[in-house]
């Protein structure tokens, strides 16, 4: 649908595949769900029917892998709020770059 490199906006198959993970992440907008997630991550992810690959990606906070599995960053961000992670670190992970290099090369900082 597009030649723009790895731009998940166009990845419909990924989005369908990642639906359950995104739904789990969406639920973290509710405080009680955040508490349940913190109390027992594995159980919480199981209750949302996540696959082993999805669970591993979430539990290791592998932002790149979550998006590769169809995660949409706007939902995934609610996971990043659990143990606060700066957006630029998530960005660097997407780009597959060291954080400092990412800040410098992509954002023109430092």
């Amino acid at each position: 649908m597009s030649t723009i490199p790895e731009t998940p906006l166009y990845d419909r198959a990924g989005s369908i595949r990642g639906y359950r993970m995104n739904k789990m992440a969406m639920s973290l907008g509710i405080p009680a769900n955040r508490e349940a997630f913190k109390a027992d991550e594995a159980a919480f992810l199981d209750s949302h029917g996540l696959s082993e690959a999805e669970k591993t990606a979430v539990m290791t906070r592998d932002w790149h892998e979550m998006v590769a599995l169809g995660g949409n960053l706007f939902f995934i961000l609610k996971i990043s709020a659990i143990d606060p992670t700066p957006m630029t670190r998530i960005g660097a992970a997407q780009a597959g770059m060291d954080h400092d290099l990412f800040l410098q090369q992509r954002l023109g900082k430092l």
Partner: protein, 279 residues
Amino acid sequence: MAKIIGGVGTSHVPSIGAALDKGLADTPDWKPFFDGYIPGKQWMADMKPDIAVVIFNDHGNSFFLDRVPTFAVGVAETYHPVDEGWGPRNVPDFKGAQDLSWHFVDQLVERHFDPLVCREIDVDHGLQVPMELFFGHPEAWPVKVLPIWVNTIQFPIPTPQRCWDMGKVLRDAIESFPGDERVVIMGTGGLSHQLQGSRAGFINRTADEAWLNGIADNYDHYRNMTREEYVEEFGSEGAELIMWLVMRAAMNDKVTLKHRHYHAPASMTGAGMVVLENA
């Protein structure tokens, strides 16, 4: 009849709200960004609008992927700030401009738009941040709001031309609304950024500057661009800029660019604003 007193285009980056909450507005990272908004804030104070129409996108807060509206319009009495995962922010509720909202919905459907009509819905940083940037942190907002949500999250997003056409209906709806309300139109989103995929961190300062300089007079260029060209030029999330077209279309063909500001990066985003008045 109600009156359009001006149009604003502005970023709505969530980090802006976070920076305000954490008291970082005067740090070297943020001060240049916030300083650039001072003239816009002053303009708003001088113009004393009664209603702000805010065109923005939800970011997976009020809508999930289970049901994605292409366009949604709020007709609620009150809009609460939504909990985006960090707990609710200390931002006052927003009172809805209910009568104008329903009038707009009637006009939209009459003119062959297909909105999702929302009576009960929260609003995320897409609406909160522009309000804070232009109205500060009052006890209560000095304006009522008419929120318009545009899907920019899930393909297919609406075409730039469709956003433009909605702006024309918005203008006619305001100008045919019985009342003497002063209405400001706030198109929000962008500027260039991409948050996901290997292209994450993409910022296009040249394209951003050209947009800020061109949206007043060179709007035909932006209206005629494809959605793919928006993504290519501004990044997948930077394509949010199509929402400024709703505001621009609601203004006169000729406008005066009163204020303009650019700063990059704000978090991972090119950020800034314009203030336009009908010439």
